[in-house]
């Protein structure tokens, strides 16, 4: 018996063996090519995560300059349920991320659509809109700390010129989180704008032209054509920004350090303090694992929505 195709002069068994060898050698080659990446992934991502996981189930003490890890079971995680600072920081982070990201996407989309309709000077506007994202976090913190300063900041000076009373925006528990949201919006709206503008520029012009000829108004073209077509891009931006917003640290650390009270306490700041100031590595690791799981869940949920939209 000979094979119907391929090499007809070879017996089937030999052909199968040869194919198997080929497949094996292809697989070996594929794995060999992926090995450096896998090694890097294991070394830089999985191993630290595993170490963090081990740490979260331990308590660490130091004796004779050596760490002693003792098993803590689930106690570090159980303690988080009663840790009012951690719970407040989770709530503040969710509020911060929800409000800031919503405003940033709305503003970024508006700017992207507006710039999409502009005929001249696109490069100028794009560069101008991009400026805040080019600044390092530490500079942004310094700039806004000066602007918010109740004694000589430009914000209160402007309010004063309008006859309005000055406010200690960062020192007042009622306004501190809002003031940080405003800084974040200023900082990250360009990021949303940039991604959404790329999506706007790739929208099919003929569809809009056809709708216009059919008598669709500008609002109708935006609502029923642009937004549905932009939905996947919006979801991607949402996913990126939600992840970054959930990890907010520098703006809060530089402007309020979590205060006054706990009004601007966010998860990253609590984790930082628990690890590096209080030196409670087990508790800090448990917080990190919970934060990682929450972020993972948010990412998976958004990816699920994106997949659904694509289908």
């Amino acid at each position: 018996m000979t094979a119907a195709s391929g090499a007809p002069w070879l017996p089937v068994g030999r052909l199968r063996r040869q194919r198997g060898r080929l497949r094996n050698s292809e697989q070996v080659w594929r794995w060999a090519m992926m090995a450096p990446v896998l090694a890097m992934l294991t070394g830089l991502t999985l191993l630290p995560l595993c170490a963090l996981l081990v740490l979260s189930f331990s308590n660490v003490t130091w004796r004779n300059a050596r760490p002693i890890l003792t098993g803590a079971g689930l106690s570090n995680f159980a303690a988080l349920l009663h840790d009012s600072l951690f719970l407040t920081s989770v709530r503040n982070t969710l509020v911060f991320a929800g409000v800031a990201v919503s405003i940033e996407i709305a503003l970024g989309l508006t700017l992207a659509l507006a710039l999409g309709a502009v005929r001249r000077g696109k490069d100028f506007y794009t560069t101008a809109f991009m400026l805040p994202i080019l600044l390092p976090g530490i500079v942004i913190g310094a700039i806004w700390a000066l602007m918010y300063n109740p004694d000589f900041g430009i914000i209160d000076a402007s309010l004063g010129a309008l006859g309005l009373p000055a406010r200690d925006w960062l020192g007042n528990p009622d306004t501190a989180l809002g003031a940080i949201v405003a800084v974040d919006v200023w900082h990250w709206t360009p990021f949303c704008f940039l991604l959404l503008y790329a999506a706007v520029e790739s929208l099919p012009a003929d569809v809009f032209e056809a709708a216009r000829i059919d008598g669709a108004s500008a609002w109708q073209r935006c609502r029923f054509i642009a937004l549905p077509l932009l939905a996947p891009a919006i979801m991607v931006v949402l996913a990126f920004r939600a992840i970054i917003a959930f990890k907010v640290f520098d703006e809060v650390y530089l402007l309020t350090s979590g205060g006054p009270g706990t009004s601007t306490e966010v998860v990253s700041l609590t984790i930082y303090r628990r690890f590096f100031v209080e030196d409670r590595a087990g508790s800090g690791a448990a917080m990190s694992i919970v934060a990682f799981l929450v972020l993972g869940a948010v990412t998976l949920a958004v990816m699920g929505v994106i997949r659904k939209k694509r289908r």
């Binding site: 020192g171 979590g258 006054p260 590096f276 209080e278 030196d279």
Partner: protein, 461 residues
């Protein structure tokens, strides 16, 4: 000489210029080599790096390090970091293979962590003949550590560090405004409040400004003179091994209620966010009539480049409640030598500390703008000079000053302490709730770490 010859002399041929350049270069190299060799010959110790904090007293420390280098020829690098960053750096240094720093300057809430963890080399292990000068304050014996008992004990303990700064709070008050309003220096908190109300005219000037921001012993350190001054405390007799949490006591409640009242009736409109730098800024700009902050801030009060109140601020011991005494907290900084360092660098570090504790160095240190750590300097004739008028208040304060924590969990306890006090000042919690919650959290931390602890019955909220 022809014009051409003259021109040639003025502009020598390129090869001649080159040779002249070579000569000059060789001379320069020889001079540099000579300078290097003579510096190396003068330097008795290898170069060292000191991890130092960015604090109000750092200017004086920087200058005294320069003087040490000039006097000895030894090279000292300073690596300066803010509070939180410094602690993280120092922890990483002593937990790694070899410390990049020969001297760690650490604040007093971290000293047990460094001693008990085995991170510092006992100074007498580096040089058995080394002794702390008897004139140097031992600050509640926090420079000693007895590994057998796990306590700070002079008897049976070993010398672990040398004090670098006596960071104790004193009362700063505007002497000119006191004179205008015919006020007396307050002995009690009630007198302090009365004076603050008399001087309070916001937003032009606040009667009293508190450091209410949250960190690790920011508001906590600001509050401690009130807590101690009302007869309260955080923990039991720690030096005898009693770590019972006594923060939720009626005395502590009275202290916190007064602290909040002072802020609301005569203080900054948003005290829960005011940092130490802002208190100093308010004082030097004339926006604060009174404050209780570290004595090290005094250097800026009379600096004409920074201050609008030169010569107008005076200093006194922190007040107390009627029937009690003034007890400020110790907040001093200590200098220790890491365990994970080559012996030569350890010796070089100790050489600096030995020089630093001498009377001459401490006199210069004081003149450079930093409070000294020697008793004889603090009570010397220097204290009678107007520029050093803060010395009397400091010397008085150090007689009663108390160390808040003698546990390696101090950073965690301080964080809880600060958080709950800040929440009370910001209006998030009532004073009683803040103290109850802080006490429970502290007991939990101490219990987990195996300390003999306990707690008082909850205050009525």
């Amino acid at each position: 000489m022809s014009k051409a010859a003259a021109r040639a002399g003025a502009n020598p041929p390129r090869h001649v210029a080159k040779e002249g350049g070579k000569d000059a270069m060789l001379k320069l190299l020889a001079a540099a080599l000579l300078a290097f060799l003579s510096a190396a010959a003068l330097a008795a110790e290898p170069p060292i790096t000191i991890a130092a904090p960015q604090t109000p007293w750092f200017g004086g420390f920087h200058r005294i390090v320069d003087e040490y280098q000039k006097a000895t020829g030894n090279t000292v690098h300073l690596e300066v970091s803010p509070f939180d960053g410094l602690l993280a750096k120092e922890r990483a240094a002593v937990r790694s293979g070899e410390s990049p720093y020969a001297i760690l300057i650490f604040q007093v809430q971290n000293f047990v962590e460094f001693y008990a963890g085995g991170f510092l080399q006992p100074l007498t292990a580096i040089d058995p003949t080394f002794k702390l000068d008897p004139q140097v304050y031992t600050f509640d014996d926090t420079v000693y550590w007895n590994p057998a008992t796990g306590r700070c004990e002079r008897d049976g303990g070993v010398l672990m560090s040398v004090p670098v700064n006596p960071n104790t709070p004193v009362l700063y008050y505007r002497a000119d405004l006191y004179a205008q309003h015919h006020l007396k220096v307050p002995q009690t908190f009630e007198q302090l409040l009365a004076n603050a109300k008399a001087l309070n005219a916001p937003p032009r000037i606040y009667g009293f400004v508190q450091r209410g921001d949250r960190g690790t012993l920011n508001i906590g350190w600001d509050f401690l003179p009130y807590l101690y001054g009302f007869g309260g405390d955080i923990l039991g007799n720690q030096k005898q091994g009693d770590f019972k949490v006594v923060l939720n006591s009626p005395e502590a409640l009275a202290a916190l209620q007064f602290y909040v009242k002072l802020a609301h009736e005569a203080g900054h409109p948003n005290p829960a966010s005011v940092t130490q730098a802002e208190v100093i800024q308010d004082l030097v700009t004339g926006r604060a009539a009174q404050a209780m902050i570290t004595v090290a801030g005094s250097a800026q009060m009379d600096d004409p480049d920074k201050s609008a109140v030169v010569g107008k601020i005076d200093y006194a011991e922190t007040p107390h409640a009627a029937g009690h005494v003034s007890v400020p907290p110790l907040g001093h900084w200590l200098g220790g030598i890491p365990h994970n360092l080559p012996a030569a660098e350890q010796k070089a570090g100790l050489a600096f500390l030995a020089w630093f504790q001498t009377e001459k160095a401490q006199m210069d240190y004081a003149r450079d703008g930093s409070p000294p750590v020697r008793r004889d300097v603090l009570t010397s004739s220097l204290a009678n000079e107007p520029h050093f008028r803060w010395m009397h208040a400091l010397a008085e304060s150090l007689q009663h000053a108390r160390q808040p924590f003698f546990t390696k969990d101090a950073p965690a306890l301080a964080a809880v302490f600060d958080l709950k006090l800040n929440q009370a000042l910001a209006g998030e919690l009532s004073p009683a709730a803040a103290l109850n919650q802080a006490a429970h959290a502290m007991e939990d931390i101490l219990q987990k770490d195996g300390y003999k602890t306990g707690i008082l019955p909850d205050l009525k909220e």
